[in-house]
Each structure stands twice: as C-alpha cells, then as structure tokens.
C-alpha cells in the first residue's frame, strides 16, 4: 500500500500540477468568503475539499470555474493562468463540474442531457441544423457513440429516454456526473455528488469516481460532507473554515486535527471529545 502511494506520488510530481490557486480572496459585500486560500491539485489525484457549511468550498470551486472572479490571487489550470476567464472558456480547457443542487436541463431526456455534455466537442449552428441530412447527422451520430459509452459506463441504459425530471434523485446525480464525464475532461470538480444519498447509492458513486480516475485519466476535486467517503477515496484533503485553511494533508490525519473537530462541533463539544479520547481522537 505504501509502496503504491509512493509510486503514485512520484508520478504526480513528474507530471506536474492540474490546478494551482494562490492567495485566492473573494468577498461578497462585507463578508469575506475566502481569505487568501492556497490549494493545488496534482495529476491523477482525488483531492477533497471539506469544511462545515458556509466555509467557502463552493465559492472556491466557483472561483476556479470562472463564476466568481477572485478579488485577489491567481488561478492556474494546466500551467496556464485562467484568473477571471469566463466559465465557458474554462470548460473548453477540459474542466467539467457537477453542482451541489442538481443542474440538469428539465424537459429534455437523459440522453439529450448527456449529449449536451459533448457541446465543447461539437460545432453547433443553424446551418448544420438546416442541412441536417447532409451536414448535421454525421456529427450527431459520432457524438452519440461517445454518449452511449458513458451511458454504459454509468449504467444508465434503461433510463436514457426518460425525461430527467421524472427519474429519482440518486439517478439524476448520476446523470449529471455522466454529463460531466462525457465531455472527456482532464479535471473534474464534484460538488457534493452524494448529498442526500443512502449508503448503497454513495458506494455506487464512490466506485464511479474511482473508475473515472483510473480509466479515464481525470484528476478530481471533490467537495463532500460524508467523511467516511472522503477518508476512503481522497488522496489528500484541505479543510476550510470561514474561508481559511485550518488543516490539510492525508485525510484521516487532517480530519482528526483538533481545529477541524472544533470547527465542526463547536468548542465545548470538541473539548469533550478530545478529553474522552485522551487528547488523541
């Protein structure tokens, strides 16, 4: 196990970094959501971003994907500076993400939603539509194959023609992950992919995340509240609280940090926990 980790670490170092954020600051009115945060994601890594509600995790992701340009600091993606770039340009560089609250397109089938994920690889326009039989059809069918690959990978075969709004929540989350993966991203950001899921569904998603990393060579940034999942699949985590990094490193060690326990449980409860465990949780 340690050998494998060491080997992986070597590979990461030689391959360079996927994401490098330096001194990110972002405020909304008087509220400082992020106070000079530095994070980085290495190639082939599953990087966890955790923290209590309102600690700035989603804001951080929105800074990376271009929704909220940072007030200060720089974002480097694949060694290129993307600070302040518009979200659709960031997506074109090979970044896909899912949302905390589902962001599927209602009124369209599962298949159409997944095909939309291919947008960055297609050349949509009015003329290919007008001359569909001569022009648009070939492209549509070529991308349909890619979409069907992902449908197989995510095991969505029997619901591909259903409208997305009628399928259960757990499957909707899976469709959203499929839509992100079908774009063949190099870097995938998952914002609470397991929120509101039961143990079985969580395990399914965890498996898909690991498979995506191993088979499709994506590096992953994962925001998640389920600590069992985080410790099980993340290689490295950063814990945020009130817009600041309070702990980072190997998952088990980082979430056992007294500061992290305090951030989650409050001071008194944390003191009790630490006392009960003799100072070593």
């Amino acid at each position: 196990m340690r050998d494998q980790n060491a080997k992986q670490n070597d590979a990461m170092r030689s391959d360079g970094r996927i994401l490098e954020c330096r001194g990110i600051e972002r405020s909304f009115g008087g509220l400082k959501a992020l106070k000079s945060v530095d994070i980085h994601v290495d190639r082939g890594e599953i990087f966890g971003l955790v923290g209590p509600n309102g600690s700035g995790k989603t804001t951080m992701v929105n800074v990376v994907t271009g929704f909220y340009p940072p007030n200060a600091g720089s974002v480097q993606l694949f060694g290129q500076d993307i600070t302040g770039m518009k979200p659709n340009r960031v997506a074109r560089m090979g970044v896909a993400r899912t949302f905390q609250n589902l962001a599927l397109f209602r009124g369209m089938s599962v298949l159409d939603n997944i095909l939309l994920g291919r947008h960055v690889h297609m050349k949509p326009g009015a003329l290919p539509s007008l001359f569909y039989w001569l022009w648009g059809a070939r492209e549509e069918i070529a991308h349909r194959r890619a979409a069907e690959d992902i449908i197989d990978f995510m095991q969505l075969q029997d619901i591909r023609d259903e409208p997305v709004e009628v399928i259960p929540m757990g499957l909707q989350k899976r469709v959203e992950l499929a839509r992100a993966l079908v774009a063949e991203p190099r870097f995938l950001i998952l914002d609470e992919p397991m929120a509101g899921m039961n143990q079985e569904e969580k395990e399914y998603i965890a498996r898909f995340i690991l498979d995506a990393r191993d088979e499709r060579n994506v590096s992953i940034l994962l925001i998640e509240h389920h600590m069992d999942v985080v410790t099980a699949i993340c290689d490295r985590i950063v814990v945020l609280s009130y817009g600041e990094i309070i702990a980072q490193g190997e998952p088990k060690a980082a979430i056992a940090d007294p500061q992290v326990i305090t951030a989650y449980l409050g001071e008194r409860a944390a003191a009790r926990v630490l006392q009960a465990n003799g100072g070593a949780p």
Binding site: A91, A96, G107, L116, H119, A126, P128, R145, A183
Partner: protein, 357 residues
C-alpha cells in the same frame, strides 16, 4: 388501429433520430403534405387565399418567433417590426430590380442585422426587462419606417409590389402565390424540426433552462442568445418578404405595428412554446377564432332571434377571444400542442392505457 408502437426496433442511431420515428406519424405527415400540395385544386378561391394562405404565412412567422421564445426562452415583443423590416427591405430591392430570391435573403439579412444590434443591447437584461427592450425596438422601428420618406415613401403612403418571378416562375395567380408561401413554410418547418434534434437546439434549450449550467458545459450563453436572435430575426425578415409579395401586395407602416407582434406572441403561447406543430395550431386559433366566433354570434342572433345590439355583436367575439387566451394560460400553459400530444399518446396505446408513457 392497435399496437402502433409495438415491434418498432431501431438498429441504427440515425433511424432512431428521425423526425418522425413512428410510421403512423410519417404517413400522417405525407397525407398532410399531399393535401397541402393539392389545395389549389381542391379548395375554393376564398378558402385558399383568405384562410389557407394567411395561415401558412402567420404560422411561418410564429415558427420564427418560437425559435426565440420557445426554444431559447427569450421574450420578443417586437417581432412585428422584424417582419416589417424584412418586408420593406425586400420590396424596395425588388422595386430596384433585384431578383426576388436575393431580395428575400436580403430582407432576412436586414432584419437579422438590425435585430442583432437590438438583441446585443437587450440581451444584457433578462425577463421583463428584455420584454421592455424589445418593445422599445418595436416602437423605434415603427417610427423610423413611417418617418423616413425614403423607406415608407412619404406619410400615409403605401408601396405596391411589382410583378415578380420566384425561381423562374412568375408569381401571379392564387396557386403560384400559395405554392411560394408553402415552399418557404416547409423549409422553415424542416429547419425547426431539425433544430430540436441537433446540438444547436440542445444548446439553446440549455440556455433557456439554466444558463449557469449551460456555461459550465461550455456553452457561450451570450453567443447562443445572440445566435437565436439572429436566426429568428432572419426568418422574420424572410416571412416579411413573403407576406408582402404573396399576401399584402402593397405595404404600409401600420401593417407592422405592435398589434402584429402581440398577435404573434399570442400564437406562440396558445400554440405551445417550443413546439413546431403548436405554431401551426396557434396561428390557426388566433387568426380564425375571431372569425368563427363572429359568425357564431351572428348565427345565434339571427336564428334564435336574440336581441343583440350591433355594438355587443362586434365586441363579444373579442371578449371570448381574450377569455380563450387567459384560459390557455391558466389550464394548459403548454398550449394546443400539449392537448394534441395528450390525445395522441392516449390513442397510440388505446385501449391499453397501462402502456402509456
């Protein structure tokens, strides 16, 4: 009669993505097409020129507006002005000696160019504000058309369309006029049907449903909104030239006022947002409901010997017509197309209701 959906298996993606995957629909469409082609020989002149022709033209216009309102989700209250620009542009070009085919495309381009300028400004706002911005466009274009003598030919002037040829065929007589309108209508309809099954339509739908999610999968939302404005305005301009050449024969500024825009918006809403078939239904209802209601009230007044004052007789159809639109918004916001779909889905599997989906 039974099992119309059973036994249909596709082995190629291309077959599955047909416009009408069910043989039933294909046969139905073929029948409609044949009837449409035979209409000049089957119908009385009054019905052909008085009903069928305006229906085709207005339905084409509703299709163009539906691309923007239904597919891309952007309100446009100035579509009448868009049609007006196309009409004036192409008629002036035809009068200057340009062939009609070019004048039609140029009319479309003029509408699209002006439309996109307003669109670029208007699309920085959303919803109600977009509605106001497009309404402003309607009034500005109205004003410019009627106050620039070079365009309108002076105050109160009408401009007549000279005799024209389209693809080598002289556009004279009812049949030629009808076939030209039908041709344009078929092209626009096929385009709209294809939009729905290609990446273009999906991107527009994404912009309509959730623009932040569209951005994150790489859709440049502003660009696609502008593209929708462009294409929709282009169709509007082409329809304007068809309207001028085939139906109006002479154009004046008051034909393209706000009333036309409101009528078109009503067609799209009553017919069904984003539905191709709905545009045809909506155009039919909005164009003919007042006439039918008028006749109905007149018939009731005469045959049942009711004492209805002429004043009331003139206004009751309008009130019913208004009530109809309110009723649609309340009870079937997805319009006539949805009603048709419900019925179709019911009969597709009748009598095996459990197989419905």
């Amino acid at each position: 009669m039974f099992y119309r959906r059973a036994g249909i298996r596709f082995t190629r993606y291309r077959d599955e993505r047909q416009i009408w995957p069910l043989p039933l629909d294909r046969r139905l469409m073929l029948l409609v097409l044949l009837l449409a082609l035979a209409a000049p020989y089957l119908l009385d002149r009054l019905y052909l020129v008085g009903y069928l022709l305006p229906w085709l033209i207005w339905a084409t216009a509703a299709l163009g507006l539906n691309l923007l309102m239904g597919t891309a989700g952007q309100v446009h209250l100035g579509y009448g002005a868009v049609i007006g620009m196309g009409a004036y542009g192409s008629v002036h070009l035809v009068r200057a000696g340009a062939p009609l085919e070019l004048a039609m495309l140029a009319g479309g381009l003029i509408s699209a160019a002006v439309g996109i300028v307003f669109g670029a400004a208007a699309l920085r706002v959303k919803g109600l504000y977009l509605a106001m911005a497009t309404l402003a466009m309607q009034y500005i274009v109205d004003f410019v058309i009627s106050h620039v003598p070079f365009i309108s030919g002076g105050s109160q002037a009408t401009i007549t369309v000279p005799p024209v040829r389209f693809l080598g065929i002289p556009i004279v007589g009812d049949a030629a006029v009808y076939y030209m309108a039908l041709g344009v209508c078929i092209v626009v309809t096929l385009f709209m049907l294809n939009v729905r099954r290609t990446a273009f339509g999906r991107a527009l739908a994404a912009v309509r449903e959730k623009d932040y999610a569209a951005e994150v999968i790489g859709v440049d939302t502003f660009r696609f909104k502008l593209l929708a404005f462009w294409v929709s305005s282009f169709i509007g301009g082409v329809v304007g030239s068809v309207l001028a050449v085939c139906y109006l024969r002479s154009i004046s500024p008051d034909q393209f006022h706000i009333e036309l825009s409101i009528q078109l918006v009503a067609m799209v809403i009553v017919g069904g947002m984003g539905s191709v078939l709905g545009s045809f239904f909506g155009a039919a209802l909005i164009l003919f409901a007042p006439i039918v209601l008028n006749n109905l009230i007149g018939f009731m007044a005469d045959s049942m010997d009711m004492q209805i004052s002429t004043d009331l007789r003139a206004h009751v159809p309008l009130m019913l017509y208004g009530g109809l639109i309110v009723g649609f918004l309340l009870w079937e916001p997805l319009g006539l197309a949805k009603i048709y779909n419900n019925m179709r889905n019911y009969f597709l599997v009748w009598p095996f209701r459990h197989a419905q989906r």
